[in-house]
Amino acid sequence: MELAFLFEKLILVTVLFVLTLSIAAYSTWLERKVAAWLQDRVGPNRAGIFGLLQPLADGGKMFFKEEIIPSGSNKWLFIAGPSLALLVSFLGTAVIPFGQNIELFGKTVPLQVTDINVGILYIFGVVSLGVYGIMIGGWASNNKYSLMGAVRGASQNISYEIAMGLSIIALLLVTNTLSFKEIAEQQHSWHWNVIYQPLGFLIFIICAFAETNRVPFDLPECETELIGGYNTEYSAFKMGAYMFAEYINMFVSSAVMAVLYFGGYNYPGMDAVNSLLGPTWGPVIGVAVMFIKIIAFIFFFMWVRWTIPRFRYDQLMDLGWKILIPLAIANIVITAIVITVVDKL
């Protein structure tokens, strides 16, 4: 029993790992295609049909490029920075439920690596660790631009974590649980949390952009001011590791948003579909719906990147501290009052 359990989890983790890597790789392809589409260009179309082999070509290029470690840098921390960024970005996928319990070979298998009862706080902790990769790498480069990027990254992450945490608190008032699985189950059919928490979702998605360092909040690598920010000195695969970490973070935060606010694997009419297809193929449709939602969010990240220009640094801080935090607190108060009134009625 114990061995079968470990084996099951091992397979799940491996599948999830490969899936995350391939989604991150194809996000780079999608990003170029979306950029090209929005700018009325063709985009990558040489490697394979529709340029679909482009990520492989990029990966090969990253491997064979010369690795340069600056002589003035701190060698160990210079290597630790991108490794840490990549490592931490994977951790978040462990608590995300990708589907209902599925029946495989006469066994009920949960499509979630682990359902810890503090799942949301775990994600929050992993997100707050994400900044160490940037900080360590930026400092170890021994370059003023890198240091500036690292410092910006740290202060930006800390500022937006507060608003993000406050928007989650309002969500918790609605759901009454910290477990991802239970939150997903509560949003059965069409009872998605975004209907009850529209403002909370808006704050959360803005903070998600800031936490993943995406445009319009990519101040840590702002190339017009800081050359490349924290990754100025990086080349070859270490540079690739940072880039990959960013795309994995994007995937994880899309998945978190899909589960917390957009019902995860739930969709209207799922009961009818489940009873029609049975306990094996019904949840498969749910998983497909989940991934459609995730990809839609990833597309949204890209759409914003190629539409909105970058913020100035003081505007970023003003938005975080003077607009989002008061809004999030107001959201908590309003949610609490509404819940109390509804309960009393």
Binding site: L121, L129, I158
Partner: protein, 180 residues
Amino acid sequence: MRFNQKGNTVAYDMSLFYFVAFLTILFSLLVIFTKNPVYSVLSLIATFFTFTIHYILLNAQFLAVVNFIVYMGAIMVLFLFVLMLMNLNEETEPMKSNLIKIIGVIAGVTLLVTLVGSIHALQTTGVSATPNSEIGLVENLGKVLFSEFLLPFELSSLLLLSAMVGAVLLAKKDKRTNNG
């Protein structure tokens, strides 16, 4: 330590505990013995991470994850932030005068004596299986905090709030002189 029915699980937990405790002591020694302040902070982060594992072993999941978020994710980021800006190096480390060294030794020895004395006086039989080993889970902890310990809980939040207001006041520009 979790109190499991099966003896082998407890033994497994014990060896895990000793391993993690060894790491905790190793990293906390590194904090004070490394010359580079950034290495010190990184070791301190590792120390806090081992604390998180200790909490999980004690079945206090909420405390574990809060320690993870607050100490590793927020406070240590700020530590690292400040250290990186100060640009401290091994070469620029200021030499401390002998007086400070002597004071440090006296303070350290006093602390050691106090700790040894208190451990000596400690009633080791007082530690036993808690009546409710699920107390560390977030649901039970929340119920206890908001009923039995409501007053201390609210008072400590007031304390934090006043500290926050104080920090904002300190950082604020002086309007009269306007040279902040």
